[in-house]
Symmetry: D3
Subunit: 137 residues, 6 copies
């Protein structure tokens, strides 16, 4: 890979592009809410998290969301981020049934409380997008 | 132990029985809230969590609630589950004083923030059941 | 779906089948190590975790491993389980490059210490299977 | 150091003094909310947490708040305590810029979700104290 | 309760008494290992953790160990403390079968990895005390 | 601030410089161990973690280590990283007494098991550097 020199501003704008394709409006809202308290955190979420890591082709976007759903469920206390990423998961091609199944799977590794909290966070997103009820395939 | 064949539906109904005796209405509400998003998770909470594990006689119901209060406090971010299980603890014979003492004890192992969050979750349950103030025995 | 009655023993044997196809020898070793301390936990890992949850067709085996790697990394302190599931991930079709990328991705959500611990656990498995160095695709 | 005998009540009052100097009104509110559910937990937060540990001269108050912000961010689910301690951090001399930077730093070790949740908790405190926007120094 | 004045040294010695009755030699070993790095932490474990909290009569020693086993399992990464407290649990009257059942129960709330790690920590203690195999009652 | 264009390689080398000044040899060893399994993770630890975040002047190096010690203690299961950062803390001017005090302070927020595990990790570093016993100031 060629290693073209880039400015900080260029890396941020590239990150915004990647972020927009995956998280959509929900991602923009997070960055906007940071603008008066920690613009640097907003910069790093976009420039590094999305521009550097999410942008790598080694793992498909839907696969990244599966890993992400697993991590956010396990961490606990990340319901706002879970809602963003359930949206992202749907945006990149996972079905509601697959999201629900991944969260059911989490019961095996994280226990029922984490699985329940994540499933109810997903339910909120499904409700907003008119996807309830989730009917088994 | 004889190993009688059972259907999935029979195991679910057995789990509902056990769940009802311990968690009461609060448990039913969780299952109902899952019905349009993850009926399988509702099935597994009842059929496995309660029908298989809670139903075992090796540990008394009050002892299971003590362990459970310890785990939910330590996990953090499980306030909804803590409220269900503070109710359950009272249902199976623990006193408000014992619940409060178990959560005080958690400060030693989990630190004050977890102990505080759990104690305030318990306070909500005590308030709903008319058990405040909790007066030291 | 028909709901055939099954015995506890039948459900255990079905779980062992599923476990064997995914975790292979590493899974068997865990169950064997439990046999003199908690045979019931061994039963439940196999009969419930694998026979009931892993066996569901709603998510492909490779997708379940992606979610699982995310959860085990986020939980922390699960290096033994990570080694079992890095093996499982390779068994069901993920490449070493994809495993490594999923763990890199975890840095965004769990921070570097969790990503490092998971990556070094994966390295042990890759070494045992003669898969080092992992060369970017 | 001389080892003067003290009563439990004296240790509590000493703790209240230390607590008042660091956490101010926010700390008093937590203790008041405990009074009808777990007065012993209130006693121990004050008498032990503040009277015994915070009072030690081996680490400056601002340094204790830096460590505390790191721990509360990493634990997750401690947003109420984070708000108390962002207030405390400002009370003992850390600037809003330093608080924000410490929380940005947490992204490296805890990942973005924890850093975001903590930063939004800090934003609430800054808003209440009229400190927004936080302008880079 | 009368509120007799005590010295710091008296509170430490009282804590050592309580600690000795519960944790036995394992507790002493932890304090000894701290003596050249953090004697104050040793003091606080004994004087506060045991002398103040464990000593309270509101919860029986066996009940405190049940809560403690739940918390240490849920926290993760506390295998050394789990070994101390599996010993303590046996010292205060819990049977190996009850300890094993409490750890099985943890699978419901914390997932299998935490339950497995805790069960293997318990197995080490049972082996040292000649209590293997644990035979279901 | 001017926004000079940089190459990926330049950002990596800058990160290595910052890393070397803080973590010293321990940091280099981590990167070397990653070279055959995840060179990209090594790149990101250096280029982003150190080159982007640690390099910011908004928080003094000793203050970053205080926050970091708090986070690693709270996360649990990060003993390898704690050893690296206890070394780093000493490298940037914290005394052994201050490190020990920060870890004692963690007992208030994270409980004794995390405080003990972190203190014993620090003890290993102090032993390697000939700094035992740590004598109260």
């Amino acid at each position: 890979m060629t290693d073209t020199a880039t400015t900080r501003q260029e890396r941020f704008e590239h990150g915004l592009d990647v972020l927009g394709r995956i998280d959509g409006e929900a991602g923009d809202n997070v960055l906007a809410a940071l603008s008066d308290v920690s613009p640097e955190l907003a910069h790093q979420v976009a420039a590094w998290g999305f521009g550097e890591i999410y942008d790598r082709p080694e793992l498909a976007p839907r696969d990244r969301q599966l890993v992400t759903l697993g991590m956010l469920t396990a961490l606990g206390g990340c319901e706002p981020q879970l809602r963003v990423h359930v949206n992202a998961a749907l945006n990149v091609g996972l079905t509601p049934q697959q999201v629900v199944e991944a969260l059911l799977h989490s019961a095996v590794y994280c226990g029922f409380p984490r699985a329940l909290n994540a499933t109810f966070a997903a339910k909120q997103v499904f409700a907003e997008r008119g996807l309830l009820p989730v009917v088994p395939a």
